[in-house]
């Protein structure tokens, strides 16, 4: 709500204390000139929460030349986007980002703020929560509103996902949460969706980054489609025996137009990088089809793929817990089965 307008209407100035915290804010992230999927996923979820609260969805973008990205946020459901458009914000620095965001939040008084549970979110959200004297719930897998008390309820994993806590805020505002990438679906784009864009003044006098980045090196090749979005995932574990065995997983994934992933076992063997490890602390997947080859299927693995629609498990050990979660299981050596499966598939 525009407070100046309110003052005009009612003829009374609003005291600081009386200002109600409203609106759900999404801190969007930009990577390689594009919005990250988690930014849009959060906007989608924020819309649902906003409907329950009778609030607006606001988003904030930091960087340079951001109008088209702001437009995309609006098409995906943001009612307003605030742009901190400044060359000094192209590179991330905790000190400058926190300065801009805390200033904005102190002025606009959000009821809820969402960050991605990403490197950036983990850097910023706890520092801002501390600065604003409020609570933060990290790494949320689900969010909803308790309408009787008008508070945010957040489901987050404990003990690496053995079970979950549903936690809530005990009064302090804003209520801040970081959201696990892939936890929510992407909202549809509505080209006719409209909203407002506003540039905010960037005053960084006396504020500078204290951590100097000397060099950046890219890790292993990133999956082309983010794993969390892939519709078909073929994952391999230690049961494939060696790198040659794991190559079969890659071949099967290619034949099915899917993505390659793996378990901790595969990571430890060096067959995959961390960005392909299916796990709550790495990548959560929810594909239409998940094929687990030579994967034991411990809870750590299971939690991260339990939302797959259809699960196929191939493992020579009938005791493997992966069979308990599979729709179809084959008790056999995956190194024998996959080549046969490939020729069946290719035979059409």
């Amino acid at each position: 709500m525009d407070l100046e307008y309110w003052e005009l209407l009612t003829g009374e100035a609003i005291e600081e204390e009386e200002i109600v915290c409203r609106d759900i804010w999404v801190v969007a992230e930009v990577k390689d000139g594009a919005l990250t999927p988690i930014s849009l996923e959060m906007v989608g979820k924020a819309r649902e929460l906003a409907a329950a609260l009778g609030a607006y969805v606001q988003s904030v973008l930091l960087g340079e030349g951001l109008e088209s990205l702001a437009q995309e946020l609006i098409h995906r459901g943001a009612n307003g986007v605030y742009l901190a458009d400044d060359p000094r914000l192209v590179e991330y620095h905790l000190e400058t980002y926190a300065e801009i965001l805390s200033g904005l939040f102190q002025a606009k008084k959000p009821e809820i703020i969402l960050f991605g549970a990403t490197e950036l979110g983990q850097e910023l959200a706890p520092r801002l929560a501390q600065r604003l004297g409020t609570g933060l719930i990290s790494d949320c897998l689900d969010l909803s509103i308790d309408e009787t008390e008008r508070v945010l309820l957040a489901t987050h994993p404990v003990y690496g996902g053995e079970y979950f806590h549903v936690s809530t805020f005990l009064g302090a505002k804003p209520q801040i949460a970081t959201v696990r990438p892939g936890a929510f679906r992407l909202p549809f784009a509505d080209e006719y969706g409209s909203g407002e864009m506003e540039k905010i003044a960037v005053n960084l006098e006396g504020i500078e980054g204290k951590v100097k980045v000397l060099s950046v090196s890219t890790g292993e090749a990133q999956p082309q489609v983010p794993l969390s979005k892939a519709r078909v995932v073929v994952a391999g574990g230690r049961g494939l025996g060696d790198a040659e065995g794991f190559a079969l997983v890659e071949e099967l994934a290619e034949a099915l137009g899917g993505q390659v992933a793996g378990s901790r076992g595969a990571l430890d063997e060096g067959w995959i990088g961390q960005e392909r490890q299916v796990g709550l602390s790495d990548v959560t997947v929810k594909p239409d089809l998940y094929i687990a080859c030579g994967i034991w299927g411990d809870v750590h693995h299971y939690f991260a793929m339990q939302e797959a629609k259809f699960v196929v498990a191939i493992n020579k050990n009938p005791e493997a817990p992966i069979f308990k979660v599979a729709d179809i299981g084959i008790v056999s050596d995956p190194k024998e089965i996959i080549p046969l499966l490939l020729s069946e598939l290719r035979a059409g």
Binding site: K31, L94, E95, E119, Q122, E123, P126, R127, A129, Q130, R131, T134, G135, L136, I137, S138, D139, P157, Y159, G160, E162, Y163, H165, V166, S167, F169, L170, G171, K210, V211, K212, V213, L214, V216, S217, T218, G219, R231, V232, E251, E254, L256, G257, D288, L289, V311, V312, A313, F323, A326, D327, I330, V331, S332, D333, L340, L341, E344, L345, R346
Partner: protein, 265 residues
Amino acid sequence: MRAIVPIKQILDPTGFAVHRRLERIFINREDYIINPNDKNALEETLRLKDAHGVEVIALSLGEPRVDDALREALAMGADQAFLLTDEAFAEADAAAAALILAKAIEKIGDYDLILTGQRAMDTGASQIGPRLAEYLGLPQVLEVREVSGLSNGKLRAKRNWKGGYAEVEVGLPVLLSIAPQANEARYPHGARIMNAYREWEISTWGLADLGLAEEELSPLIGLRRKAFPPERTFGELITGAPGEAAKELAQLLREVGSWKLESGG
């Protein structure tokens, strides 16, 4: 140079089992361990002790039994330990825990480095480190894989960044959170284990020692309930010779799938 390492004691997860259908947690064995990732933080600090003579101070907030965790830290090589315990600390959430730890760190004083774990396994929150840094007005470097240099009041570190790494430089004092992949933590030294219980005094600080008032620790976050992942139903096993099984599976994939099957390749 002085480094402070806050370590957390947690319930050993191998001692309990989660029953999804009953939505209950069965504790078979109530053991407590140092949060595994905090041992990485301690190890990284002990390496700085070995290489640069940094003084290592371990700090833990919790119930009196946390004393054991601190003695283990001493046995691993820490020089001093402080136990923060008080009935008033029992309900501490992340904000309150950070405040208590920050007050203790200020009281210890004269520090150059604070090294925390990247996250505690029980909460999974990754909050305490950055909250401490904010309270103490320090820069932070999170998810550190390696402290690669320490000289002239500056520290160099390699941190996880965007699927790869970034090499960064920062002035002291600074707060680091150490990634689980940073190192293999050493085992406690035999002789030091014996000494840990006999020789070392662990100072214990409570609410009043830290100049805190109970109201300052009111929690901001509360637990409503626990939730459990759904139990999955048992599927079907395809038995029979590998050739038959593969044929059946291929057929099923065609029926079930709306995905695109590419031939050849």
